[in-house]
């Protein structure tokens, strides 16, 4: 299997500086792949996919009925990031999460950032994620966004940009850990010699963080992962995390509020829960406070949260900062709260609530990417250059009807990485979702994160709900040697 004839075209390629010339950090891997016997890589790819099926790592696509079990496609060629470059990204992510947490806390308290005129007031009053019920609350250690999955992309020059901050219930980390397990089996030799930074301790780091933010005075907190249940598309991840962390996996009907604590129904009666890592949205948490028809949460949970007998991660109300309009102001937040310049740039963003920006967006729909402010998963967005004139004119209508709800950005020519197609390699666009665990005084950043790849030729949409796949992501220390393995 060779990379002969592999084209990087005009894009930044994650593994090759130019055709035929692997980046230093990728040299060992490229040699190993080229030295495999004919069909060897394909065999490994298929074995990995079978392993995923047998482990039950399946994914349900929304809207399709039961019985549609499929795995997220996994590409066997890893994406490699050089260690020094990663260090900058890591520092940038820590900085960003720290500032965002300060912002959320400020919004639910004195709103100094607004008083000082740095961000406009409508920013939070119009945000769907703002919860008046959280005004004045003090979650332990001042942490609101405990777990974040920030999406990064590279442009033509290889510069990393922040595409969006997923602060509510970001998913995908289980794939990072599983992809790594599969890759260790497939390329043990390269792995060993490439000095890949480890990801295996993520569940421990996660559990330590959750213990750290437990309610005051609890020495050995009982931690639960709250899942909507087995029919949720990310159920496998919820179960996987609970299993790896040693937490209880609970569903709404397992919980009951006893007047003071949120408890789980166990075979020995009610047992108090101290920390809940929830994988359901705010509006489903507590039917007494939010949606009355929710069966996914537990009546009384918000009382326990307000009274401090229960920590909820991420905290209710965190969504106020998970909004693509708020996103545009993060560099200002970093300056305001930390007195620093942002280490990771934003993608230049036009806020459509601004008349001028709206006109600009409407005039340039064929060049821009337009996104709804508070959706995730790639739903409801328009990729101008790929859309038909009809789609664009229909989108323009929704845009005019509710400009606050939209932002636009230039269409970046995302970086690419080689994927295995039938019998050769082709470049496909990728993004990167690192995971950050924030505990107040410090953060842990999972080295690398989830590389999502748009498997359709030329496509820019990497979301797993829309046909994207994943790759293992190696953060490699030291330029690896060039000798063959």
């Amino acid at each position: 299997m060779t990379f002969e004839g592999y084209e990087t075209d005009k894009f930044y390629d994650e593994l090759f500086e130019k055709p035929g010339l692997p980046r230093g950090s990728a040299q060992l891997l490229v040699n190993a792949i080229e030295n495999l016997p004919q069909g060897g890589l394909r065999t490994r790819q298929e074995a990995s996919e079978r392993a995923m099926h047998s482990m039950g790592i399946t994914f349900n696509v929304y809207g399709s009925g039961e019985g549609t079990e499929r795995t997220i496609p996994f590409d066997i060629v890893p994406r490699i990031i050089e260690g020094n470059e990663w260090n900058v990204v890591e520092a940038g992510l820590k900085q960003r999460i720290k500032a965002v947490n300060r912002f959320i806390d400020d919004i639910y308290h004195d709103r100094e950032i607004i008083a000082d005129g740095v961000v406009p007031e409508w920013l939070f009053t119009s945000s769907k994620g703002y919860l008046p019920q959280c005004q004045g609350l003090n979650p332990p250690k001042g942490v609101w966004a405990h777990v974040t999955g920030t999406d990064l992309v590279r442009d033509d020059n290889g510069t990393f940009f922040v595409l969006e901050d997923n602060l509510r219930v970001p998913s995908g980390v289980s794939y990072v850990l599983l992809n790594r397990t599969l890759m260790k089996r497939n390329f043990p030799e390269v792995f060993h010699r490439s000095r890949v930074r480890r990801v295996v301790d993520y569940p421990d780091q996660f559990m330590k963080m959750l213990h750290h933010v437990a309610p005051e005075g609890i020495e050995r907190p009982t931690v639960a992962v709250l899942t909507p249940g087995v029919y949720n598309s990310a159920y496998f991840e919820h179960a996987f995390l609970a299993q790896q962390m040693g937490a209880l996996l609970v569903e709404g009907h397992d919980l009951v509020y006893d007047g003071k604590y949120v408890c789980a129904r166990t075979v020995e009666g009610l047992v108090r829960i101290d920390v809940i890592y929830r994988r359901i949205d705010d509006e489903f948490l507590d039917p007494e406070v939010f949606r009355g028809d929710s069966r996914l949460g537990c009546a009384g949970m918000m009382k326990a949260f307000r009274e401090g007998t229960l920590t909820i991660a991420n905290a209710p109300g965190t969504g106020v900062a998970d909004d693509k309009v708020v996103y545009a102001f993060v560099p200002e937040m970093i300056k305001y709260y930390l007195g620093e310049e942002a280490l990771l740039p934003n993608v230049p963003t036009h806020l459509c609530c601004d008349d001028e920006a709206l006109e600009y967006t409407l005039d340039n729909l064929d060049k821009l990417v337009v996104k709804p402010a508070s959706e995730s998963g790639g739903y409801g967005m328009l990729i101008g250059p790929k859309a038909s004139p009809k789609e664009r004119s229909e989108f323009a209508k929704s845009l005019r009807a509710d400009p606050r709800n939209y932002i636009s950005q230039p269409t970046l020519s995302l970086s690419r990485a080689p994927v295995l197609t039938d019998d050769h390699f082709e470049g496909r666009h990728v993004d990167l979702r690192p995971f950050i665990l924030h505990r107040g005084d410090d953060s842990y950043v999972l080295p690398g994160g989830l590389t999502r790849v748009a498997l359709r030729k030329g496509s820019l949409v990497v979301n797993s709900s829309q046909g994207g796949g994943t790759k293992d992501t190696w953060v490699v220390d030291e330029a690896a040697g060039t000798e063959a393995v």
Binding site: S54, G56, V225, F236, F240, A242, L249, A264, V267
Partner: protein
């Protein structure tokens, strides 16, 4: 700490796997037995449906209890909840819903086993061979899963719910097997003690994997000795008393030796059985004995639900 929902899931997952492997045993033995029938005799397939207690359902769907119909009903029927395919499918779905509790190796097996029967080809030409093969696979895989449970799960409450489920299900199925042999295969009392009768007792022992043990320890076939072995034996792992004592032991482990309602019912049942002899069971009426036994096993099942699972009971007990 074991969630009530998870305890319930473990219990039923275990029961469904045990149920499937018992039905596989019944199918396999009936088939072998029918092969040995004298040519003049009719093949007997209806009793197999009787074991499951769902004869009405079967008649409504299939009518005649022919070999193929019975095989299809018990092995493949996707709508009959006690078919092997459904039992294993249910167990698989339960396992998927508690991925965090089931060890990885066990999950892989249960996942694969749940897909085995629906994925099997069903060409007419090889139908019997295929059913036969599936029976063996189901039996073997169920034992494999059992071994994995025993080797990979710590002896906590979850493990003991698994064990209670398995042994209650097994006790129930062994009693049904006996019931059928006793009342359906030989309706004509004059045939008792004939070679055909012996053949059937032997088949019953065979389906419980205990025929050779029986011959070695008890000698020639006699109904009394067979009942001794499969009802009252405390050392044979498919005997009713063995199963009930094992379930009781696990119930005590679950509550850390505290007795409660399900313990009481089960304890009484064990004590009664220990005081009985096979001759008494036969004299007092096999039918009554088995009916009562099944009612009591069902009472234990309900008491377990009330004690550990029912949201009302669990919440009030706090």
């Amino acid at each position: 700490m074991l969630l009530s929902r998870v305890a319930d899931n473990i219990y039923w997952m275990s029961r469904y796997i045990e149920r499937a492997s018992n039905i596989a045993r019944f199918l396999e033995v009936s088939y072998l037995l029918n092969l040995d029938q004298p040519e003049s005799a009719e093949e007997q397939w209806a009793p197999l449906i009787e074991i499951t207690g769902d004869i009405k359902l079967f008649k409504a769907r299939y009518g005649e209890a022919s070999r193929e119909n019975v095989m299809h009903f018990l092995m493949f029927n996707p709508e009959y909840p006690n078919s092997i395919a459904c039992c294993l499918g249910t167990a698989r779905n339960i396992a998927k819903g508690m991925r965090e509790t089931v060890s990885n190796d066990m999950f892989r097996e249960i996942n694969a086993l749940g897909k085995l029967v629906p994925a099997a080809t069903r060409e007419k030409a090889n139908f019997h061979t295929k059913v036969f093969e599936l029976c063996r696979e189901v039996k073997r895989d169920a034992m494999l899963i059992e071994a994995m449970a025993s080797e990979t799960i710590e002896r906590g409450q979850g493990y003991h719910f698994w064990r209670v489920g398995r042994y209650l299900e097994r006790a129930d199925k062994t009693s049904r097997l006996l019931h059928v042999k006793y009342f359906h295969l030989l309706p004509d009392l004059s045939e008792v003690g004939t070679p055909l009768d012996d053949l059937q007792w032997a088949a019953l022992l065979e389906s419980l994997d205990v025929r050779e043990t029986y011959t070695r320890t008890k000698g020639l076939i006699s109904p009394e000795k067979v009942i001794e072995m499969i009802v009252l034996d405390r050392g044979f792992p498919r005997a009713i008393l063995f199963c009930l004592e094992a379930a009781l032991e696990s119930l005590y482990r679950i509550t850390r030796d505290e007795p409660s309602r399900p313990h009481e019912i089960l304890e009484k049942l064990c004590t009664d059985l220990k005081e009985m002899t096979a001759a008494e069971i036969i004299d007092n009426g096999m039918n009554e004995f088995i009916d009562e036994l099944q009612i009591e096993i069902n009472n234990v099942n309900n008491a377990i639900y009330e004690q550990f699972i029912s949201p009302k009971a669990v919440t009030a007990g706090a």
